[in-house]
Symmetry: C2
């Protein structure tokens, strides 16, 4: 009976080729256009891709206004919004910078980065300032890899080690399957720590 | 007074070049080694990077055991753990497959993918099966881009549209700054929807 329950619970269904990651990032990409107007868009195909040099990527369709800006300016910022800006963030993904000035509409403030040719959103608590070092053609999406030249953060969100604290930043993630933004929830365990119990259990077992 | 409060709250401090994203993925990469032994590791530098063809990447240091496996087998899986497996997931990131059989130690079950030359974790609710289509040298990390050939999911985590439901998958994210795994929290708004209010407000303003 127990065996049957486990078998049922772990029966895997094939869903075909798709991008079904349960959660994705909510990262706001800041660029200047040809005329120097600041633009922002919300990206879910984004993440960290190297520690040394510190690098992030964003993958975009050629059709986006940001794509042209990136190709021309070779620089971007990532502004991480806090929960309070969920409406603005969704709006940044709904409309194109070709048609409107998204920052002016939302009354958010573009600030010119002091290290790269791109603007960030002043009201968002953490910002990465990046220069493009590689452009990788994949398919519908082009991947822009940017070296992080500096991180800016609001003093109020830093922890005692001067690192942005998730409890203070209150970042968003996205569940595309559920079509919903999500807050980051409760602590589930200490990383590089909670698994030591398994390692030690094994070592104890093998001891003479 | 109000202006002062805003100015203070948005004062940005430079933290230098670093990988300070407030939340990162918790993705488990499955590979076979030279001798056909299954191995898993936990990756935080990972994400979706293209919709057509559907692709994900993982960025790894050459020193990892998985790096050699990927170079040889040209395939991997991503198994998304649910909250219940946080200890195992942390353990997967603490030890090397060179030294131990992580799946056997944790009593988790490797299953050979039916579409790529890599194993996935049977107990984890959602799996992506990927063949490597590009290898991008960045710096300390090498980025492996894999085309997703199939998604497998436990029937119990699917929603009415046959898509893995975040409420049922109960995935983890990680806050590296806080050194903690986090559950995905409450709904913060409907995506591609909650921002329409701003778009419509603007349109109404511009109406004749």
């Amino acid at each position: 009976m127990v065996r049957e329950r486990v078998r049922k619970a772990t029966f895997m269904i094939s869903l075909g080729a798709n991008t079904f990651a349960p959660v994705t990032p909510v990262w706001v990409v800041g660029t200047y256009d040809h005329d120097g107007r600041p633009n922002v868009m919300t990206a879910a195909w984004a993440g960290i891709c190297c520690s040394k040099p510190p690098c992030v990527y964003v993958s975009l369709r050629k059709a986006t206004y940001t794509y042209g800006n990136l190709m021309e300016r070779k620089a971007f910022t990532i502004s991480f919004p806090s929960e309070a800006y969920v409406k603005e963030v969704d709006y940044f993904g709904l409309v194109s910078g070709r048609e409107c000035d998204k920052l002016s509409t939302t009354k958010l403030t573009p600030v010119k980065s002091d290290v790269v040719d791109a603007p960030y959103v002043k009201e968002f608590p953490v910002v990465l300032e990046c220069k493009i070092i590689k452009v990788v053609e994949i398919g519908l999406h082009t991947e822009f890899i940017g070296e992080i030249l500096d991180v800016k953060a609001q003093q109020t969100v830093l922890n005692e080690n001067k690192i942005p604290d998730v409890e203070k930043v209150k970042p968003l993630v996205c569940s595309l399957a559920n079509m919903s933004y999500r807050k980051v929830g409760e602590n589930a365990g200490k990383s590089f720590s909670i698994g030591k119990e398994i390692r030690e259990r094994k070592t104890a077992k093998n001891a003479p």
